[in-house]
């Protein structure tokens, strides 16, 4: 008797909490669903329609039109090039830099400080721009990869992951005569795949979403990345009344078309996200709690 009373009291008390949580979940996910739905709808059928749960007049026209643009396909391939290559190089250099610090070589404090300081102070965008310019990397996709090769925050995360590997295994391999490279690649890396996956994902997402560097380093359209093109379609065009600015765009872009472009940008994320989410969470707790 007493137990069922307190249990129903418990449920009743929980109800407002659940309502709030569900409401928040809807707010944070519905916009994405809206984008997807609108991308596959016919513009004329959805004007001024407000909330929408399913495509109206299902069509692939918007998406195929967007994907047909030469500017679109070049910016998409530029982005993929930068994301893949950048993530690969960033992950490798970060791991290589982190490992000696975990092994506490002479000068570790200095090397740590060297990396940490770049988080606290930087030259700013103009010196960065001048450097890229003098390296001849303007309008070159490498300008999107090299200047952000190592992110100190990811470095710390990697250091924490590597620090969890028992020293005894590494030391006994050392006694057996293995070189540090062998120890790193044969023993440590296989054990720290979770950490590597985590920082690789952080780098990949950052690369995928970045737009500012491409904005200032690329003056040629064919070197644009996806976010820069999106910015022109979604933000710039919106500001001047929705007129299309690309000379090759014949049809002036309606909302559905614009959102179809957005979909191409968020689709990889949404598809991969549920599987990769746990890596991001672990990475943040690793980096922040111990950092």
């Amino acid at each position: 008797m007493h137990q069922s009373r307190s249990r129903s009291k418990h449920l009743l008390a929980s109800l407002p909490i659940y309502i709030v949580l569900i409401f928040l979940a809807i707010i944070m996910t519905y916009p994405f669903w809206y984008v997807l739905v609108m991308s596959f709808s016919t513009q004329s059928m959805v004007n001024n329609i407000g909330f929408i749960l399913w495509p109206k007049g299902f069509t692939l026209h918007n998406v195929s039109y967007i994907m047909g643009f030469s500017t679109f396909s070049t910016s998409y391939s530029n982005t993929i090039y930068v994301v893949v290559l950048g993530t690969l190089l960033s992950t490798i250099t970060t791991v290589l830099y982190a490992y000696p610090l975990v092994r506490k070589v002479p000068g570790t404090k200095f090397f740590n400080l060297l990396a940490l300081f770049t988080m606290l102070f930087s030259g700013g965008i103009i010196p960065a721009f001048l450097l890229v310019r003098s390296l001849g990397l303007l309008n070159n996709l490498w300008s999107l990869i090299l200047p952000m090769l190592i992110n100190p925050f990811n470095l710390f995360i990697m250091r924490n992951f590597l620090g969890e590997i028992p020293e005894s295994i590494q030391e006994s391999a050392e006694i057996d005569g293995a070189s540090p490279f062998v120890i790193l690649f044969r023993i440590v890396l296989p054990l720290s795949m979770a950490g590597i996956a985590t920082i690789a994902l952080f780098y990949a997402v950052a690369q995928w979403n970045s737009y500012f560097d491409a904005l200032i380093y690329m003056s040629k359209r064919e070197k644009w990345t996806l976010q820069v093109l999106l910015r022109e379609i979604l933000v710039v065009a919106q500001a001047d009344g929705g007129g299309a600015t690309d000379a090759t765009m014949n049809e002036s872009m309606g909302m559905c078309m614009r959102l179809a472009a957005t979909t191409t940008s968020i689709i990889p994320l949404i598809l991969l996200y549920p599987f990769l989410q746990k890596y991001f969470v672990k990475g943040v707790t690793m980096g922040a709690v111990k950092g």
Partner: protein, 292 residues
């Protein structure tokens, strides 16, 4: 132990930091020069603190500074508590699989770019056809315009930050909550404490060190108000309320070509930012040590 392989591993990173981080820092001396792009940093003539004089006396600089600090405080007051509240709410969900579903939903906004978010705002809050504002219009008959409106723009910035970052920010507080000793709750239940009382008297005090630490870190970042966010949403109508230090640097450099002036503004922000971060990090460390 053999050392040289370790230094070989460090080498790529060292070269990277040197070329792409520390050399640009040295270029900052251009703020003391009459910088010409054709002459470069080293070829331009010195002009002392002239650039700073021009900067501090310029019409826009005080406005930009004011915007930076106001938006930062606005964000601090509104955004900072949100992840904490969310963590406390989520903690009340007892079934872990339900919790995880909620969390999956809450982390999602963190992973899209500000370009996309800016567009989402435009779509949902467009004057006539926006999902939300169009609906409001049909009820009240007034049109609402949020992005091209100086009165509402700052709120848009803050609210969109909350939308994007609350879920992600709650991770660290949830982690802190899981560290709380169960027996404290059990004792409280025996004493007849309600769930709300348990939160107020046990959960919050136990995660207070985490909260204070995060607060200190946030204060250190007070001049960083979300450059990519504001740049993605700013327009000429809201310039006077929205331009912050970072976007100001971008504006005068890339639309007006005043590289030295922009670098001076950038240096100003970097130096003050560094001082703030060092002060508040030190306080955060002291808090951490004093509690334990």
């Amino acid at each position: 132990m053999k050392l040289w392989p370790y230094y070989a591993m460090l080498l790529p990173g060292l070269v990277f930091f040197f070329i792409f981080k520390y050399i640009p820092m040295s270029s900052l001396i251009m703020v003391f020069k009459d910088f010409r792009l054709t002459r470069g940093v080293w070829g331009s003539k010195w002009n002392g603190i002239e650039n700073f004089r021009i900067l501090f006396q310029s019409y826009y600089f005080p406005i930009v500074l004011r915007n930076t600090i106001l938006i930062s405080i606005y964000k601090l007051v509104c955004f900072f508590p949100a992840p904490i509240v969310l963590a406390l709410l989520l903690n009340e969900v007892k079934r872990s699989w339900i919790k995880r579903i909620f969390q999956t939903a809450y982390y999602l906004p963190r992973f899209v770019s500000w370009i996309v978010i800016s567009n989402l705002i435009t779509v949902f809050f467009a004057p006539e056809s926006g999902v939300v504002t169009g609906f409001l219009s049909s009820i009240t008959g007034k049109t609402y315009n949020v992005l091209i409106n100086p009165d509402t723009f700052r709120s848009v910035i803050v609210i969109s930050s909350i939308w994007r970052g609350t879920g992600w920010g709650s991770i660290i507080y949830l982690a802190a909550i899981t560290g709380i000793d169960e027996s404290l709750y059990e004792a409280a239940i025996v004493d007849g404490a309600s769930r709300f009382q348990q939160i107020v008297h046990i959960t919050v005090p136990c995660i207070l060190p985490t909260i204070l630490t995060m607060l200190m870190l946030q204060l250190g970042q007070i001049l960083n108000v979300g450059f990519e966010q504001i740049l993605a949403m700013i327009n000429s109508v809201v310039y006077d309320v929205a331009e912050v230090l970072d976007t100001y640097v971008y504006t005068i450099a890339f639309t007006q070509g005043k590289y030295a002036l922009a670098s001076a503004a950038g240096l100003f922000k970097s130096v003050i930012g560094l001082v703030l971060v060092l002060i508040f990090n030190k306080i955060a460390n002291k808090i951490g040590r004093e509690i334990f």
